[in-house]
């Protein structure tokens, strides 16, 4: 039975960084009586259990779903869409369903269509990834003080929406609700473009020997380029329409910078840099 934001049995599909950290957080805050992890690799399930991220792991879907009140897909987008076709029809009545996928449009449409009556699905995107991966990198406070975007659709019931909202709030997150299409536009600007730009910056340094001269500035600017290439290739492919428009935007901005630099006028360059510095301060507020 689900009451408020306490769950009898939470099933987490995928025990990587996000899934294992979620398990740790739920257990640490006493928000679930039992946290079950599902995965294909027994070794990884054992590792997650050893780390205290889940109470037990199983490779059996039926076992994972029996009595489940909250089902969380902590898997990449393509895997989630594929698994959902097998899992969602078998969820018990009253089960809440969410995912942590970074691109929403098509995925939300697919999972909404697969959700049987008397179950509720609200998609989530906790903005707290890391360039690190795997349960070994998991932390119980990964979600704490971070932002979570949730993306209801036309048919989403109020109780379902507030249930998922309360879940993330109970983990210390701020929650903002927006339509899937808007979500994809927003993350293209604040997450996907920075990722590609970081990768472009590091790839542009032609001579690898020059990397030795990189200080904290280069390290900070390119840190996210160290994240999983496979995961990001999927994200970029999935959200390519919005990302293309962002790439065009940054190229226009760089054309502008080029003009400023070419002018050789420190006042003009300074004004542009001052705008950036002021905006950057707002980001820390």
């Amino acid at each position: 039975m689900t009451a408020g934001h306490y769950y009898e049995k939470v099933t987490i599909v995928g025990v990587g960084l996000m899934g294992a950290s979620l398990g740790m957080a739920l257990k640490g805050k006493g928000l679930a009586k039992e946290v079950v992890g599902w995965g294909r690799n027994q070794g990884r399930l054992d590792e997650a259990a050893d780390l205290g991220a889940i109470d037990r792991g199983t490779r059996d879907r039926a076992e994972a779903l029996a009595g489940c009140n909250l089902l969380v897909f902590a898997t990449p987008g393509e895997v989630t869409a594929k698994l959902a076709g097998e899992w969602l029809p078998q969820t018990p009545p009253g089960c809440r369903i969410t995912d942590l996928v970074s691109v929403k449009g098509k995925l939300v449409e697919t999972l909404t269509g697969l959700t049987p009556p008397r179950r509720s699905y609200v998609s989530s995107h906790p903005l707290c990834g890391s360039e690190r991966t795997g349960a070994a990198a998991a932390r119980p406070d990964l979600y704490q003080n971070q932002l979570c975007l949730i993306t209801p659709v036309a048919g989403t019931k109020k109780t379902a929406l507030s249930g998922i909202q309360k879940l993330w709030q109970a983990l210390g997150m701020s929650v903002v609700s927006m339509a899937p299409a808007r979500h994809d536009r927003v993350v293209a600007a604040v997450s996907h473009l920075p990722h590609l730009v970081a990768a472009a910056l590091i790839n542009q340094i032609g001579d690898e020997k020059l990397l030795a001269f990189g200080g904290t500035g280069l390290k900070d600017t390119t840190r996210i380029a160290g994240a999983s290439p496979a995961l990001w290739a999927e994200i970029v492919t999935e959200n390519r329409r919005e990302i293309l428009s962002q790439i065009e935007g940054i190229m226009e901005n760089l054309m502008l910078v080029k003009q400023h630099v070419k002018s050789g006028d420190p006042a003009r360059i300074g004004q542009w840099l001052r705008k950036a510095a002021m905006r950057r301060k707002k980001l820390d507020e």
Copy 2:
């Protein structure tokens, strides 16, 4: 008298983040009998003295120069070039001179020309700035484990070069020596371009409300855009030729990314991201 890397009297011109941190490091490691700070603002000199960054502050040039064995300009490029015209002719015989300016070409030429016989000038660029400024942000370990580029010219004597090299090494830095022109090319790639790109990324986010959705990725990628606009306007203006060529380079790279994204082929995007991730790992080594 100067023996090895121990100095009787070090004079630091400018007691901002770099100058004050240098004073703390020299005093902390017992590398100077006396550290004197020079500045125009008595309040700032007092603050630096209160923080233990200097033994005493003075606004008097003659007093600052009397018996000085090591003179360090910890001032921006334009100020340094201007002050050097007044200071260098008055340095006592045997005095070592250096600066911490980020762009070398013209500056090194100017200061080399101003250095009287029996004094030695070797320009330095410790790669350990921060987006923070002022003595209040100074740390005795700012230089520790960081890289310092030094830029000798044709006439630089071996003893002068090794003296400055030993100074930075004694502060825990790795030291690499290169010609001023190469220095300016290198820092355009690993420091100046990342700075402008970080500023372009944050300026490109049209709607300021979107900043609320920025996670650690956006924060890391744009952190250096928070640095002093005035200082960076000067750096960018001074090194504009090299920077323009870097901006052209990143735009070509972004054109390439655009093609990859447009292709919608995750394998192609993944390969490009994999190259970036591998290079990023090397940066941490």
